[in-house]
Amino acid sequence: VAAAALASACGSSSKGSSSPTTAAAGAPASCATGTLTGAGSTFVQNLALQWSKNYSKACSGATINYQGVGSGAGVTQLTNGTVNFGATDVPLTSAQSDLLQPKGATVQVPWASGGIALMYNLSGVSNLKLDADTIAGIFAGKITKWNDPAITALNQGASLPSTTISTVHRSDSSGTTAAFTLYMSKTSPTTWTLGSSKTPTWPGGQGAKGSDGVTATVGQTPGAIGYAEVSYAQGSGLPVVQVKNASGQFVSAQSTAGVQATMSTATISSAGAVTVDYATTNPAAYPIVTATYVVAFKSQSSSPGNLLKSFLLYAVGTGQSAGPALGYSPLPQNVVTFAEQQINTIAVG
């Protein structure tokens, strides 16, 4: 409490002029002190903890705590006033906004993005290529064998076995599931008819808790395919699917440039919600991507308001360079510009 009471900004939180591509890794543009607490998305947890570490290292006297309790719980904690910021994988719903509104106006800012990889377990096949319709067909239970003509047509030269496809999805409620089902519902609406949801009613397959559970289940099950954030796919050593984008190119989720290319054509609503353009004709674009958001009240007292502003500006600015090592993709410049504008509307006083 004493540290928080003594908090003061030791640098004006002016708009960062540094570009995320040229800045030194992890140095915040300005420093503030005090203690900041945030909670929410598990998707952003690894990056948020890295930001917290980098920020405290550069600015002594600043402590930033982040708890990956889940997006819904994070927004609830923000509404109850027990945290300074909440993090959510899907933009605020109207029900959540209705509860937040009486407590004050909020800003919602995209602050991290990443690709969602499709991992598979198929011995002898290491270069699997799929497009939107086959992915949707597999997860909708309409394509059930690995040597289905729809798959072999995309993988000429590869010898695909007649193994039954075993799909693996999240058994827990997840923003990653929402992003993946959104991709299928937008790019293959006739095949995937179950819409986008954190907990869709899957037509079959196995459910596993957490991305670690999905990764483990795919690894244990011959013929399995599952989705998870890129970092899990990288850690598991399982091969990932090359996904066909709108311009006909096959791109791997492990290409941060591919995720960034899709994000750069995304549109952002005035409320801060990112809409991905899956039809982008950029040949480098990897289509299955998601953005995750931070939410905070617009009106802040000087402590921890100055630290909040400074930390968020760091996160969307130079902090983005900490992403690739952890499986995230740096936000493209247009999103960063929008995010900085929004963060600067936070009134500290």
């Binding site: 719980a73 609830t76 719903t93 959540q96 409620s173 397959g205 459910g207 244990q220």
Partner: protein, 324 residues
């Protein structure tokens, strides 16, 4: 009153006055401790009802018949039918496996094995109860799930005429069956420990009377031990049932989480109230959180009923044995 106290043998240095005041303090303390437990139970129930009321009002009676769980969808559709089914089915099936094994082990420890064997075996069984449930969950995910697949396939191939072992999906792995096996291992030590203590409490005179009539060891168990212990054993099974009903994380880690009422425990799927709360709460929206609390209220009611039933059986057992 004074006369009685004066005549009672009070040791020198310990006045009557001090003794009564410390008695009173002790009475107060123990009374408030007991009252605190009651207040806590009532407070938990009140909290559950208060927090879940909006969701219960929204869903109406459908809350008890609906199988889907989409409380944050528009329109919200959610109900506990499938969850209650999965909770009861998994707990019941785990008891079907655990009870014979547990009672058999307890009989071995008390009636058959010499102390040199029963002491270390009893210790190992109690050790099972000390393993944290998340460790059982991890073990389930990485060891049990892949190793049970051949057995599950064998069951489906030979016994698919039993609805329990029919698997139309032809996919094997994270099924209700795995959850049942894990629950069995988790409730086993509880039932064994309680059953052992109950069997030990059977008066030696009962055993000796049976032996005097020329009964064999099995006849002693059947005629003297089991009738006396029946009530207590039923109570211990009910407490094991309570554990199985409420087990959360180990079950959440191995289940595929579907929302349907089915007998087919070999296909990927199944869900329980506790596991559903664990997997859905973090990401739930406002309605979703209320709905999950409402499901918690149902679980609270079920476990309360089970515990009261256990009390009833234990009490009846004591009375019956008193008559005997």
């Amino acid at each position: 009153v004074t006369a009685t106290i004066e005549s009672s043998p009070v040791p020198p240095g310990l006045t009557v006055r001090r003794r009564t005041s410390s008695d009173r303090i002790f009475d107060r303390l123990s009374m408030s401790a007991a009252a605190l437990v009651l207040v806590l139970i009532v407070a938990i129930a009140a909290f559950l009802i208060w927090k879940s009321w909006p969701a219960l009002k929204l869903a109406g009676w459908d809350f008890f018949t609906e199988t889907q769980w989409q409380p944050d969808a528009n329109p919200a559709v959610f109900g506990i039918a499938a969850l209650v089914w999965g909770t009861l089915l998994s707990a019941f099936l785990s008891l079907v496996i655990a009870v014979p094994v547990a009672v058999g082990s307890a009989l071995l420890l008390v009636e058959v094995a010499p102390p040199a064997i029963s002491r270390p075996v009893g210790y190992v069984i109690e050790l099972l109860a000390a393993v944290p449930s998340v460790v059982y969950g991890l073990w389930g995910v990485y060891v049990l799930v892949p190793r049970l697949i051949p057995f599950e396939k064998w069951l489906a191939a030979n016994f698919s005429w039993i609805p329990l072992f029919n698997n139309p999906s032809n996919t094997y792995g994270r099924s209700m069956f795995v959850a049942v096996v894990i629950l069995t291992i988790m409730v086993l030590p509880i039932i064994v420990a309680l059953a052992r203590d109950i069997l030990r409490s059977v008066p030696a005179a009962d055993r000796e009377a049976a032996m005097a009539l020329g009964a064999t060891r099995w006849e002693v168990i059947r005629l003297a031990v089991l009738p006396y212990a029946r009530g207590g054993l039923t109570g211990s099974v009910m407490l094991g049932l309570g554990r199985a009903l409420g087990e959360t994380i180990a079950v959440a880690m191995v289940l595929s989480a579907t929302f349907e009422i089915t007998w087919n425990i070999l296909e990927p799927g199944g869900n329980t109230i506790a596991a559903n709360i664990a997997t859905k709460f973090g990401e739930a929206g406002p309605v979703g959180q209320e709905a999950l609390v409402a499901s918690g209220l149902v679980l609270f009611a079920i476990t309360l009923a089970v515990n009261m039933a256990a009390r009833f059986f234990v009490g009846r057992g004591v009375k019956a044995s008193g008559r005997a």
